[in-house]
């Protein structure tokens, strides 16, 4: 494999509070290669968005990086002073957030916002910036870009706005895009268009994408590899096909089973027609940050827990093509 573009090692994000320090992201490590799409899935509170925010250096205080390191193209970026990080953000790392309306300034036309972003990061004349902005709008699939250039964000529909946000993220040809729930606010038909667009852009530009979402369907369509997060830790990481079709960690297994799929008619018809099939259920809910269980954080809900699970925290063990933090796949130390 080629040199990783992004390397996250043992990252910890903490929130100091009056009642003690809460660890929201607890020692996670992963890499992304150029042109690769890494999906991060998990339920609310799993720490996936905070991981993204830590990488782009936008953690809201009092949240802070308490340990580990983040390297972009070999260079450490988590310790950079604010001003230097500002130059990297936008230039080397682009960001796409969930709600396109709050990512855009309602008082400026989209053309002005694109040109401003391009001129902030690249040394171009206003004319060059304008023609680049128009090219970008065309590339993200905004019809009649020339005539929409002077429109304000409110004059666009949700899907079109998200395209503008993607164009903004691409302005300076960043090497990495952090996309946090980019399709969650959109309708399914628009969602499909945006996914297709993201995938094509990553391929054409060789841009790496960190795709954060709770929607396994989006991951299945877009990602090359996927990391499943639970309670601030990576439960399982591996090629997307393996994680979806052959999940190893009991949490991943439960998560995949609980996703409703369009009914399988052949099997539904043969079963008892009066009884509806039930979805796989994981009992209980994700622990609060104030009460992360000892050992493996999933053990109180795990149907397969055994002796070491509540004592010792598992590291990522190799399990087939995946790596998974579960004692079923490794030997506890004595």
């Amino acid at each position: 494999m080629s040199e990783p573009l992004l390397e996250v090692k043992d990252l910890r994000v903490e929130f100091p509070t009056r009642r003690g320090t809460l660890t929201a992201v607890d020692g996670i490590s992963f890499t992304i290669a150029p042109g690769e799409v890494l999906g991060v899935v998990g339920e609310s509170g799993a720490g996936k968005s905070l991981t993204g925010m830590a990488i782009i250096g936008l953690l809201e205080p009092p949240g802070r990086i308490a340990g580990g390191e983040i390297r972009l193209e070999g260079r450490r970026i988590d310790t950079l002073p604010y001003d230097e990080m500002r130059r990297i953000r936008g230039r080397r790392i682009g960001a796409i957030f969930q709600d396109p309306l709050t990512s855009l300034n309602p008082l400026y036309t989209i053309g002005e916002q694109l040109v401003e972003t391009i001129q902030t990061h690249l040394d171009t004349s206003p004319q060059q910036a304008r023609s680049r902005a128009l090219a970008l709008l065309g590339e993200v699939g905004i019809p009649a870009a020339e005539s929409r250039f002077d429109h304000y964000p409110h004059q666009f529909s949700g899907g079109m706005r998200q395209r503008v946000v993607i164009a903004l993220a691409l302005c300076a040809e960043p090497r990495l895009i952090v996309a946090d729930e980019p399709t969650t606010a959109l309708d399914v038909s628009i969602q499909a268009q945006i996914i297709t667009l993201l995938k094509r852009l990553a391929r054409d530009h060789g841009t790496a994408v960190l795709l954060i979402t709770h929607d396994m369907g989006v991951i299945a369509e877009t990602a090359d590899r996927v990391a499943v997060m639970y309670a601030g830790r990576i439960a399982e990481i591996g090629p997307v096909r393996e994680v979806i079709h052959a999940p190893r960690h009991p949490y991943s297994v439960g998560l995949m089973g609980s996703i409703p799929k369009i009914r399988e008619y052949a099997t539904a018809a043969s079963g008892d027609a009066s009884k509806r099939p039930r979805l796989v259920q994981i009992e209980g809910s994700m622990p609060r940050l104030t009460a992360i269980p000892s050992g493996c954080a999933f053990h109180p809900r795990c149907p397969k827990r055994f002796e070491p699970c509540d004592r010792e925290r598992p590291e990522l063990f190799v399990a087939g093509a995946n790596r998974t933090a579960c004692w079923l796949y490794g030997e506890p130390t004595r």
Partner: protein
């Protein structure tokens, strides 16, 4: 349910429409000489709900599905048309008493529970209002039983909503809806605010309750995969109109209306069969200015002159109702 099966529909909507006045204030209109502007959110909807079944209404945002839910429970009055419950027109004076036989579950469990009330009072409110219990002790007993029925503990009645997670709050909403002993529940996106594993818990709970209590559900959702799990019949809405109404098995196995096909195509493919998806072009048109003829024609690959001019009515096609000229003319194979 020892009685012979009752074949009369529980609920019947006939040509129901709902207009919202979205004009500017009266004085502005007079000064600027602009006409009144009406938005037709629901446009001539007719369908029936059979006893004990689950009918799902699906569609993208703004298609009017939530308005239909609110019309049925009486939160809005229809502009035109008739809604009958158990054979009685809900618009007649005195018919309001029928509404105690229906209840509603809302989407956002954070907004739909009063944060200053204890769970006891939240769940007991319908019992008190409808006078279903003779003594305070009986109310406490009923609330306790309801909480156990939805998977909470009796002691939870002393707590406040903020002490519960999203999924538990939705269980409280369900307990509240059930406390009036309704036979019909209108569920407006009951799981869209929840994480997938919690969604699975709630969907399974709703299925169990339907089987034990013989409830009838109107299930509003934008998520076709969820709908395929819970629904007996599915109505697909587009711009305030019914595009297709079919048995669930039929709809998912053989979608007929081009819009239904498009929606099914847009669902991210978890099986990763690698089938090429044709992302749907276009977006839902502005409901203030709906297209003439079939509302879907600007996005439809099969549209011809007739579709642009003549509005299709939902007509029987096989066991389904389909509002599409192309299907009825045999221009597309069903």
């Amino acid at each position: 349910m020892a009685n012979p099966p009752d074949n009369r529909p529980l609920l019947r909507l006939s040509e129901v429409s709902k207009d919202f006045d979205v004009s500017r204030p009266w004085l502005n209109r007079v000064l600027e000489g602009t006409p009144q502007q009406l938005l037709r959110a629901v446009d001539g909807m007719s369908f029936e709900l059979r006893r004990g079944e689950t009918l799902a209404l699906v569609g993208e945002s703004g298609c009017g599905k939530s308005t239909v839910a609110r019309l049925i429970v009486g939160l809005y009055a229809p502009t035109k048309g008739r809604i009958e419950f158990d054979g009685i027109d809900l618009g007649l004076p005195g018919a309001a008493a029928l509404r105690r036989r229906m209840q509603m579950i809302f989407q956002d469990p954070y907004a739909s529970l009063n944060p200053r009330w204890r769970v006891m009072d939240i769940v007991a409110e319908p019992i008190r209002v409808l006078g279903l219990a003779k003594s305070p002790a009986e109310i406490v007993d009923r609330v306790g039983k309801l909480l156990v029925q939805v998977g909470l503990a009796r002691e939870d009645r002393e707590k406040y909503p903020h002490e519960f997670s999203g999924g538990q709050r939705q269980r409280i909403s369900i307990a509240r809806a059930l406390s009036g002993s309704p036979e019909f529940l209108v569920c407006d996106e009951p799981t869209s605010a929840l994480d997938v594993s919690v969604q699975a818990q709630i969907l399974n709970l709703m299925t169990t309750l339907q089987e034990t209590l013989g409830l009838t559900y109107l299930f509003i959702s934008h998520n076709l995969a969820v709908v395929s799990h819970v629904a007996d019949r599915v109505g697909v809405m587009y711009l305030g109109r019914l595009a297709e109404l079919s048995d669930a098995d039929e709809l998912f196995a053989r979608p007929k209306h081009p819009y239904t096909r498009m929606l099914l195509d847009a669902i991210p493919d978890l099986a990763m069969s690698g089938k090429a998806r044709t992302p749907v072009a276009g977006e839902v048109p502005n409901p203030l200015d709906p297209p003439a003829g079939c509302a879907f024609h600007p996005r439809c690959p099969h549209a011809n002159e007739r579709c642009r001019v003549e509005r299709p009515a939902p007509l029987p096609h096989g066991t389904s109702l389909v509002a599409c000229h192309a299907v009825h003319e045999g221009r597309i194979r069903a």
